[in-house]
Symmetry: C2
Subunit: 363 residues, 2 copies
């Protein structure tokens, strides 16, 4: 929508209006390089999930560094990427229903290689119809359960039944099996399912799994071929809490201004749930809604839409009205879904300001 406080005139971070979403490019580049080196070392195909940054320019950087393609969650998000030149996309989400056929067909036409992860026959019928409409093959990755209790078939026999339907359907082909995150039994599931499929003469060469919190141990899952991770590009308080990164790896910060200090021990910033989101993290990972770099002892104790209320009782830093602070959010991905633009910087200098084209793309 409208350019709500366009930041494009700012040359330095100090010139920016707040709240603003800052992207530290040096850290992004280091995070991308480190993940690619890990994937290369373990002969894993890296397929980064763009839901975290929603920016074609960063997706292109990930591919240039060696990623095999990208992962996206919804058709709208994938279409933005396809039109920006990302031509190998895995949709890691079941696409269901007649109203999705034409949008998915358009995505198929806009990509060189497209796959959809799914766990049921209705989704398969939708994908097959889109493939036929597009006149192109869409690959299928059968999603299986490995501990997340979200989507995914429960038993290897269910995977076989679905694989048989794929083989019997026009326009689609089996690419492999996938799960999220990589639960303890994932390798066993794939071994058993592949054996069942092989008995039918069906190959499922790809074993795709992901999740940033446990990404550095992904290679321990026997048979894994493809790593899907998103948050690692920025990291956040949750992935730091999980031990996948340190605070110094965090590349996304929310810049906010203290707008009120009604009493000692309480300060209010101009970043609330419309900027930081209401996402919580495990208590062991930290209290409240984010980590304030300039006041590490502060707890962002409550949020309303535009207010963040800081409890400074355990904090030696004094905050005054007008002070500016940078916050590492609990969860980076939904933060980039909220602001229409992000500000990329190197040190104190603004590098570029980009519209977040794929924000809001839930369809």
């Amino acid at each position: 929508m409208g350019p709500h406080g366009a930041q494009s005139a700012a040359a330095r971070l100090d010139d920016l209006d707040t709240p603003a979403v800052l992207i530290d490019l040096d850290r992004v580049e280091a995070n991308v390089a480190k993940a690619q080196a890990y994937a290369d070392r373990h002969r894993l195909a890296l397929r980064p999930h763009v839901k975290t940054h929603k920016l074609p320019t960063l997706a292109h950087r990930q591919v240039r560094e060696g990623a095999v393609g990208i992962t996206a969650q919804k058709i709208g998000e994938a279409l933005v990427m396809a039109h920006a030149g990302l031509d190998d996309i895995l949709l890691s989400y079941p696409i269901v229903g007649p109203r999705k056929v034409e949008p998915l067909a358009r995505l198929a036409r806009a990509t060189r290689r497209l796959a959809v992860m799914l766990d049921n026959e209705t989704a398969l019928a939708t994908v097959a119809a889109a493939a036929v409409a597009a006149g192109k093959v869409i690959d299928v990755v059968i999603e299986f359960e490995s501990g997340n209790r979200r989507t995914g078939v429960l038993e290897p026999a269910d995977a076989r039944a679905l694989a048989r339907r794929v083989v019997a359907s026009e326009g689609v082909a089996i690419r492999g099996l996938g799960t999220h995150p990589l639960g303890a039994g994932a390798g066993d599931f794939v071994r058993e399912a592949r054996a069942l499929l092989a008995a039918d003469g069906i190959e499922a060469p790809v074993f795709s799994g992901g999740g940033t919190p446990t990404m550095w141990r992904a290679h321990e899952h026997a048979g894994l071929t493809e790593l899907r991770v998103g948050t690692y590009v920025y990291h956040d308080r949750a992935t730091v809490g999980a031990g996948a990164a340190t605070l110094d790896d965090c590349a996304l910060h929310v810049l906010a201004t203290v707008v009120s200090v009604p009493e000692r021990g309480r300060a209010v910033i101009d970043a609330g749930s419309k900027t930081l989101t209401s996402d919580r993290i495990a208590e062991a990972y930290g209290a409240g809604y984010g980590h304030v770099l300039e006041a590490p002892g502060a707890v962002i104790a409550s949020l309303s839409e535009e207010h963040g209320v800081l409890d400074l009782s355990g904090c030696s830093t004094r905050l005054r009205v007008g002070d500016r602070v940078r916050i590492v959010p609990n969860h980076a991905c939904p933060v980039t879904n909220l602001d229409d633009q992000v500000v990329a910087h190197r040190g104190d200098r603004v590098a570029w300001v980009a519209p977040v084209w794929a924000r809001g793309a839930t369809r």
Copy 2:
């Protein structure tokens, strides 16, 4: 940003792609009329908060029905409304710092009448500088604490000190005192503060308070002159829980599709935290992240960005992949901040599809 799955071709709700945000116009009109009748009956000026709908067309309807003007939270939100012809705006948020002066001056130039609620001298200096830059008077409403522990001066003497600074500043004038929500001591605070101000020869005619959950008892606060409420236009699970409305008054629904049913007792819908938000409500108001109209016994037990996981163990309704459901969200306001568009309807017919121009306006 981009038209992510534009819904404009749909004639009936059944034609819509999901997830979609639906607005029931008959219910909106009833909610607007009922609030206006209440305000009129108690001689309160109604100043609806547009943060809930973020739609100029609904703001105009509220004003046509008798509202004195509107309330907005941030300059960006207010600018959208001003350019859409809403010319009497109260910004119920402290505007702080030199980078806000020019944006606020622009808002002052774009409005006939503008006020800012604030609780500190730095905000006052910002507002005064903007008023001088705009060559117009900006009114000040002094915010006080009445139980919310967010922003607001704590003592009537603090209000007097701030009022004296207003009187001494160029470009600004005292309009009154305000708080949110209306805590038990609000009336006493205003009486005491007005007495102190009167001793200085300062009048503060407006006493502004708000909050939908307790709105029907607002008239019990002696001396209240202005009612600021937002959520009443749509209502949601929180205001129903608070007793301010019934489920049948709820005018905003999220339309979602069941995309996976991995096992009996669990279904997954295509509306996650990017559609419903992670906002929780008091346990007594209901479990999970929303109320599913077609399966009232279902609990939306967990959300990830694009997945809503339904626990159907206490539910007699059977859901199948492809089924479509409507959800009353916990909190309507942040939901309208997420999708670029909302679909207004009467019964099953789509009335219009509007871009949410003021979504994302956190600056």
